[in-house]
Symmetry: C2
Subunit: 822 residues, 2 copies
C-alpha cells in the first residue's frame, strides 16, 4: 500500500506547499480478507487498536490542543517544537496489539520491552488505551481531556521524555541509550518461569556491540527454571540518516546469522495491514506454541538440550501509515520517516493540512466515543488487570521485591587476635558468606562475572551451586550446571545488562569485575543511575534492590598484568551521579568487606561500588571492631596512632582509604612510632568515601564539625588513597583543613611487576608517606632529617631488589605490624 | 596426540610430586606424512619454527637463567612469580608460522593482530626469531645471552607486559582489554589496498559485545580500495575458568553465525601437528587465493557485489604441547592450561622436572646453534626486511604518517561584524572546512559517526564524498558510496575501534558523537590513551596522529531527548589520563571551533576532545580574534566586560567555558552593565581547559602569576562551566584565588524540553549568574538588592512561559548582545 514519490507524487491533485514539492497524505485503508487465523471481526478489532495507538502517537508528537480533531487544525493546535520519533512507532504498536491477543488467548504473564530509540509515543498510547495511564496519573484520564493532556505532556517542558522512561507505565527499560533491550529482557525472565517478554529490537540498535553480543544470552535461559524472551527484530530498514546493515544484507544471510545465534526466526513482512495482521498472528501463535512446548518438555523432565528459541523478524515500512511523500520526497518507508515526517506542520498550511488528513486516515471517529474514550469494541481486545502489559507489576520490580535472607556476616568473619596478626584474601572470605547468601535465596539472588569469579576469589559460591550453562558441557568442563546461580560470560556488557534486568524486575544480585574493566560499562552504569534517580520521583514506582559491584583485581594488584589493567577511575564516573543514588566503599580488610557487603545487600535503590583486594593481606579489625568502624564509615584507629590524646590535636594525620593504601599507611605509622616516638600521629581510615563530602551534598556526608574533629583544622594530613588523588580533593575542597591535605594516589605511570614496586612507582609507599610527614610537620629537627635520608635509601634498596629478584624485598614482603620493618 | 588424565595418568611411570596426583610431561612428537600441500622438507622447517616459538614462549614464562637448558634446571633458574598465559600461545605461533610461509610465497605485505589476552610470549618469540627484537633492542641479541634477556624481561619488574604492547615489535594492537582486535585490523586495512592483516580472534574475546558487533566491519571494506583482513577464530575452547560459548554450540550453528556475519569460514581442527600443519597450509592458501581473486576482480572494475570474505576457524587444544596432566588433573586441552600449566615449578621438584621435560620436548638442540642463535634451516622460512610481520612499518604508524593537506581555516570562517551580530551552527561551519579536508586528503583521512553525521551538522562533507557502504544500496538510500570517506554505523565501539586502527597505522581521522554516548567507549579511550602514553616511551615508536573527538548534541542541547542524553562526564574520564596525552577544548562559537580543529588535525599523539554545539548560536569572535583567542587558550573579553581597566583588579570576574555557558555569561554581563554600570566586571573565556591546570601539571597549564592576573588574587569569580562543576575545582584547587571561585555547571537534574528551561533547571542561567554577583560582591547597596529581586521574578516568568508555550520566553529566545533583555 505504500505510495511512492516517483509513482504519483507530481501528477495527482496533491498538496503543494511553501517547500515546493508535493506532499501526499495517506489514504485510509480498507481491511481485506487474507488467509490467516484471524476471523474478520477479530481482525477489525485488532486493527482498530493499532489505528488508535498510531493516532494517539501522532497526536503526542504534534498536538497541544484539539486532540479529537473536533475542529479543523489551526497553527495554535500544533506544538512549537515538534519532537519524537514516529518511524518506529507503528511497528511497536503492531507488536503490542498482537501481544495483547496472545495474552488473552493464553492468559500470559507478559511484559513489553521497546528497544528502538525514542519510540515512547507507542507504549504511552497503548498504556492510555489500556486504562493504566489514567489509573497512575489522574490528569491523564481516558477521555478527551485526558487525551489532550497525554498529547500535551509529550516531550514538553515538565512532561515526559520522547522515549520509554520511568514515567512510562509497564516499562522497565529506558529507551535512551541503545543496545540493552535484549539484556534487560533476558535478565527479567531469569527465575521468572511464567513470564514472557515481548522484546522489540530495533535494527539500528542491533548494530551496537552490546546488542550484537547479547543474542547469546539464550545460552543462559533454562526453560524449566526461567521464562521466555520472544525477540522481535523490527526490521524497518532505517536509522536517522542511513539504512541499517541488517536491512542491506540478503535475507538468507540475516537468517543464517540469527540461526547461528541459536534462534529459529520467522519472517513477517509486508505493508498491507490486512496481510501483516494475519501473518503476525500466525507467527506469534507459532512462536508461543513452540515456547510452551519447550517449557513443558523441560518441566516434565526432558533432558534439556538447548532449544532453538523462536523469534520474529518483522519487516514493515519505516513510519508505516505516515504521509508517503512530503515536499516531493519519499518519506514513508525511508529514513525521512525516522523522526517527524511533517516538520513544518505549525507554520506551513500544506503540512498542517496533510497532518490533519493523516490523523483522520486513522478514522478517529470510529475509535473514540463522544467523550473521547476508546470505544468498547476496541477495549474488548485488551487484557484486564495485571495481565495488561502496561500494568504488569514485573515492570515495577519494587512491588515484587522480597528481602534477601541474609546469614549473619559475623559468623563468616575471621578471628583477629591483634591487628595484622593474620593475612586473608578478603574477597575469598566474602565468598564464603556469598555462598550462604546464594544457598538461602535460591530464586532471587544471582552473581554475575566476566569469567572472573574464581580469579576474584569468590569460588566458594560454587560449593552450593554451579555456573548457569545451557549450551553443551564438555568432558573437562567443571562446575557448569543447568540450574547454576552464577552467570559467567566474557562480556561486561552482558553481566551488567542481565543483572540490571534482574534488578529492575524485583530481584537481587552482585556483579564482580576487574576494577579497570568496569569502565566498559560506564555508560550502562550512567543510564541505570539515571533510571534510579528519575524513578525515585515517580510516585507509583517502588524502590529496587541496589546495583552492587564488587571490584577486585584492583589497580594496586595489577602489577603483573600491567598498565592496561590499572584504572581506578570508575569511582570518578560514579561520583558524577546524583549523590542520593551512589555509594562507594573501600573496606581495608576481610571483616570490613563482609560488614560493608551485608549493608549493600540490605540497601535499596542505590548503586554500591565496593573495591576490595583478592590477595592475602593483613586483617586489621575483629568482627566487632569492623561492625563499629563500618557503621561509622570513617574513624580513628587509636591502636595505630601514637600519642594521639583525645581533646588535643595530633601533630599529623595519616589518612587512608583502600586496602593497599591502608597497609602502607600502617607501615609508615610503625616506622614513625619507632623512629620519632614523640611525634603525635593519628591514623584515620575511611571505608565510606561519601563521608568526606559535606553533609549538605550527600546523605552520608560528615558535618564540618565532625570532619574537623577527625582531620583537625590545621595539622598536616597525608592521605593515601586507592584512586586518582584529585578525587579526594574534589570531595574535600570545602573543608576547613583542605589546604593542609596532601593526597597520594594512583597516577598513570606504566607497568611494573611486583606489588610493592607498583606502589613505589606511584610514590604511595611507606617511605614516601614518612617523608611527607617529615616534610610537613614543622620543627622535627635532626632526627627527622636522618629518618628522611633513611627512607630515601630504603626505597632505592627496595626498588633495586625487585629489579634483581622479580619479587618484593623481604623487609616489605615479610613485614608485620607493628615492626618498623627497615 | 593429547594424552588425558583418565587414560593413563595414574598407571604410567609418571612424576608424582608434593601435590599428590601424577604430572605427565609431553612426549616429543614425530612428524608424519599427511595429505596436503607441504612437502616433507617444508613441513619440517615450518614445524621447527613453531617449536622454536613455543620453546621461547615457555622460556619467557618460567626462566630467569639457563635459557638453553645447557645444565639441569634448578630452582634459581625459575622466576619467583610465574606470570603469562600459555594456553593461547601455540595457536598464535601456528598462525604466525604459516603466515610467514604465505608471505614468502606471495610476497605479501602483512601484519599480525593477536586478539587473545596475554598471549605476549608468542609474538615476542616470533619477533626474536625473525631478528627484529635484536634490531630494536640491542640487549636482546639473537644468541644465548639475548635469549636469556628475552626470557628474563618478560613480566618482570622493569620488563615487558604479558600481552602485546607498544614494546612488542610488529604489534599495533594492545592485548590488555579484550574485544577490539577485529576493529583494529579492519581500521588498518582501510585505504591500504596492498595490506593483509592476519587477525587472530580469541573465542573468549569473541563473547564481548564490541567483538560480536565488529564482525560486521566487513561491510565497509571495498576490495578495490582497501586491503584484506583474514580473521582466524582461535577456538581453543576455554577462558580462564570456563569453556567458551563458541566451543559449546554445535559446529553448524557456529558456521551459520559466521556465514551470517558475511564470511566463508574454513575449519582447521585437530591436535596432530603433522595434520594441522597440512590443513592450515591448505586453508591459508585457499583463503588468500580467494582474497586475491576478489581484489583482482574489484580492481579490474567488476561491479563490486560484496564478497563473502574468507576466514579460518582454528580448533586446536588449549595449551597444545604443554604437559597433558598436572597433579592428576587434565591440563592440556582444558581451562587449566590457560595461564601457567605448572604453577609450582620453582618450589616443587616434580613440577620442575616436568617443566624441563616439557621444554626439551621441543628439541631445542635442533633449533638453536651453539651460540643460541636459531639454526639456518629455521631462518630460511622467515621473510626478510619489512616483509617480516615483526618489522612491518604499518605496525609503527608514525613511520608512515603523512601530514594532512589542510585548507586555511580562516577562509571558512564566518564574518562577524560585531560580537553576537549573527548566529551560526558552529559544527556546520566546521563541516564546510572538513569537507575540504576530506577532498584534499582522499586516501588518509576518514570521518566516523554512529549515524550522527548529519544530526551533528557535518553533512557538508557529503558534498564531496559519500558514506562508505559495501552492502546493498536500496532505492531510497542516499549518499551511500563504495568509495565513501565517511563511515557511519550505529556503534560507538565500531567508530572508535576502526578509527584507532586507522590512526595506529599512520593515518588521520575524526570521530563525531553525541556527548552523552561517548561514555560507551570510555574504556576504549582509556586503553588508547595508555597506548599513546606507553608508546611515547618506546624509542623506536614514532608519534601518531591524534585521536580527535568532536562531541556535539551536547548536554545543554539535549532538552528534548531528555535526561538519558545529558552527561558531560567524558571530560572527567579524559582528565584522569596522563596530562601529556590529553587535551580538552570548549570553543564558544563557530570561528573558535574552526581554529581549534585546525590545531587538532595538525597535532600528534594526543587525544583531543572538542565539545561544540550544533544549534544556531551567536558568533562572538571574528576570524582574527578567534585565532588570537585560541592561541592563548584563555583570555579576557574586554568588549564584554565593563570598567575593567588594565592594572587594577575588577570587582568581579565572570568566567565561562563552553558555548552555552558563554552565552549565559554574556547575557548576565549585559544585565550588569545596564543595571549596575559602575560595577567593574571582567569576562574571561576559557577555550583550552588545560590552561586552568598549574604549569607543573600540564604542558598547557598557566603559571600562577598569569592565572592570578586573569582571575585576580581575591575577587569573586563566577565560573559558568559546560560540565560537572567540580571538575573546575579539581583543576584549580591549588590556585591563589580558589576560595573565591564559585562554579555553576551541570548537575543530574532530570529532563526538560526547551533549551533555556534546561539551563534554568541547572541554575546556570543569566539570572542566577547576576544573583551570584550580587551575593558575592560586597557593598553593592540598594540598587543591587532590587536587581536581585528582578532576577528572581524574571526567572519565574521565564520558567512559567516554557511550561505554557513549550518554547523559550521571547526575552531569551530573541535576546541579542548587548541588550539587557529583561
Amino acid at each position: 500500500m505504500t505510495r511512492t514519490a516517483g509513482a504519483e507524487g507530481d501528477t495527482s491533485a496533491d498538496n503543494v506547499g511553501a517547500h515546493g514539492g508535493a506532499s501526499i497524505a495517506p489514504t485510509p485503508y480498507v481491511l481485506t480478507d487474507a488467509p490467516g487465523p484471524l476471523a474478520h471481526e477479530e481482525l477489525v478489532a485488532l486493527d482498530a487498536f493499532w489505528r488508535a495507538a498510531n493516532y494517539l502517537a501522532v497526536g503526542q508528537i504534534y498536538l497541544m490542543a484539539n486532540p479529537l480533531l473536533r475542529e479543523p487544525l489551526i497553527p495554535e493546535h500544533i506544538k512549537p517544537r515538534l519532537l519524537g520519533h514516529f518511524g518506529t512507532v507503528p511497528g511497536l504498536n503492531l507488536v503490542w496489539t498482537h501481544a495483547n491477543r496472545a495474552i488473552r488467548a493464553r492468559d500470559l504473564d507478559a511484559v513489553f520491552v521497546a528497544g528502538p530509540g525514542h519510540g515512547g509515543p507507542g507504549p504511552n498510547a497503548c498504556a492510555w488505551l489500556e486504562g493504566t495511564y489514567s489509573e497512575l496519573y489522574s490528569d491523564i484520564s481516558r477521555d478527551a481531556a485526558g487525551m489532550g493532556a497525554l498529547f500535551a505532556q509529550f516531550s514538553f517542558p515538565g512532561g515526559v521524555p520522547s522515549h520509554c522512561a520511568p514515567e512510562t507505565p509497564g516499562s522497565f527499560h529506558e529507551g535512551g541509550e541503545l543496545g540493552y533491550s535484549l539484556l534487560h529482557a533476558f535478565g527479567a525472565v531469569l527465575d521468572n518461569p511464567d513470564l514472557t517478554v515481548f522484546c522489540v529490537v530495533g535494527d539500528g540498535e542491533a548494530e551496537t556491540g552490546p546488542l550484537a553480543g547479547s543474542w547469546h544470552a539464550n545460552k543462559f535461559v533454562n526453560p524449566a527454571r526461567d521464562g521466555a524472551v520472544l525477540p522481535i527484530l523490527a526490521l524497518n530498514q532505517y536509522k536517522i540518516a542511513n539504512p541499517t546493515l541488517f536491512a542491506r544484507i540478503p535475507e538468507d544471510e540475516l537468517m543464517s546469522l540469527l540461526r547461528g545465534y541459536g534462534y529459529d526466526p520467522v519472517l513477517v513482512a509486508g505493508d498491507d495491514p490486512s496481510r501483516v495482521h494475519q501473518d503476525m498472528a500466525t507467527a506469534l501463535d507459532r512462536c508461543l506454541d513452540r515456547i510452551a512446548a519447550v517449557q513443558r518438555a523441560a518441566r516434565d523432565g526432558a533432558d534439556g538440550a538447548r532449544p532453538a528459541w523462536p523469534m520474529i523478524v518483522l519487516r514493515t515500512p519505516k513510519g508505516w501509515t505516515c504521509p508517503p511523500v512530503v515536499n516531493g520526497d519519499q518519506v514513508e518507508g525511508t529514513f525521512r520517516a525516522h523522526q517527524v515526517p511533517l516538520p513544518a506542520a505549525r507554520t506551513d498550511d500544506t503540512h498542517r493540512a496533510v497532518l490533519e488528513q493523516w490523523l483522520r486516515s486513522y478514522r478517529p471517529d470510529e475509535l473514540f466515543d463522544a467523550d473521547g474514550a476508546p470505544v468498547a469494541a476496541l477495549l474488548d481486545q485488551v487484557p484486564v488487570g495485571a495481565r495488561r502489559m502496561s500494568a504488569n507489576p514485573v515492570a515495577n520490580g519494587g512491588e515484587l521485591i522480597r528481602d534477601l535472607r541474609l546469614p549473619d556476616w559475623r559468623e563468616f568473619g575471621v578471628e583477629v587476635e591483634a591487628p595484622g596478626a593474620i593475612k586473608r584474601e578478603a574477597t575469598r572470605v566474602l565468598g564464603g558468606w556469598l555462598r550462604e547468601v546464594t544457598r538461602r535465596n535460591p530464586d532471587n539472588f544471582l552473581t554475575f562475572a566476566p569469567d572472573e569469579l574464581a580469579s576474584n576469589r569468590l569460588q566458594d559460591i560454587l560449593e552450593v551451586t554451579g555456573r548457569d550453562w545451557q549450551a553443551e558441557i564438555g568432558e573437562f568442563d567443571v562446575d557448569l550446571s543447568r540450574t547454576g546461580r552464577v552467570i559467567e560470560v566474557l562480556s561486561e556488557h552482558m553481566c551488567e545488562g542481565l543483572l540490571e534486568g534482574y534488578l529492575l524486575t524485583g530481584r537481587h544480585g552482585v556483579f564482580t569485575c576487574y576494577e579497570a574493566f568496569i569502565h566498559i560499562v560506564d555508560a550502562m552504569f550512567n543510564q541505570h543511575a539515571k533510571w534510579l534517580d528519575a524513578s525515585a520521583a515517580v510516585p507509583w514506582r517502588r524502590p529496587l534492590a541496589s546495583l552492587n559491584y564488587l571490584l577486585s583485581s584492583h589497580v594496586w594488584r595489577q602489577d603483573h598484568n600491567g598498565f592496561t589493567h590499572q584504572d581506578p577511575g570508575f569511582l570518578d564516573v560514579v561520583l558524577n551521579k546524583k549523590p542520593e543514588i551512589v555509594r562507594v566503599y573501600l573496606p581495608p580488610d576481610a571483616n570490613t568487606l563482609l560488614s560493608v557487603y551485608d549493608h549493600c545487600l540490605r540497601s535499596r535503590h542505590y548503586v554500591n561500588v565496593v573495591v576490595a583486594g583478592k590477595q592475602p593481606q593483613e586483617a586489621w579489625l575483629s568482627v566487632p571492631e569492623a561492625a563499629v568502624h563500618c557503621a561509622r564509615g570513617v574513624g580513628i584507629w587509636e591502636w595505630a596512632g601514637n600519642g594521639d590524646v583525645t581533646g588535643t590535636a595530633p601533630d599529623v594525620v595519616l589518612a587512608c582509604a583502600g586496602d593497599v593504601p591502608t597497609l602502607e599507611t600502617l607501615a609508615a605509622a610503625a616506622i614513625l612510632r619507632n623512629r620519632l616516638p614523640d611525634l603525635r600521629v593519628r591514623v584515620v581510615n575511611v571505608v565510606d568515601l561519601m563521608r568526606l563530602l559535606p553533609a549538605e551534598e550527600h546523605p552520608h556526608g560528615l558535618p564540618d564539625s565532625e570532619f574537623d574533629t577527625l582531620f583537625t583544622r590545621d595539622r598536616p594530613v597525608i592521605f593515601a588513597f586507592h584512586g586518582y588523588p584529585w578525587l579526594i580533593h574534589r570531595l574535600t575542597y570545602r573543608r576547613t583543613n583542605h589546604a593542609g591535605l596532601h593526597v597520594r594516589g594512583y597516577k598513570e605511570k606504566g607497568t611494573t611487576t611486583t606489588p610493592f614496586d607498583m606502589v613505589m612507582l606511584n610514590d604511595l609507599d611507606r617511605y614516601h608517606l614518612v617523608m611527607d610527614v617529615v616534610d610537613r610537620v614543622p620543627g622535627l629537627g635532626e632526627r627527622a632529617a636522618a629518618l628522611r635520608q633513611d627512607m630515601v635509601d630504603a626505597r632505592w634498596r627496595a626498588r633495586a631488589w625487585t629489579r634483581e629478584h622479580g619479587a618484593d624485598i623481604p623487609a616489605v614482603a615479610d613485614w608485620t605490624w607493628p615492626e618498623p620493618g627497615l
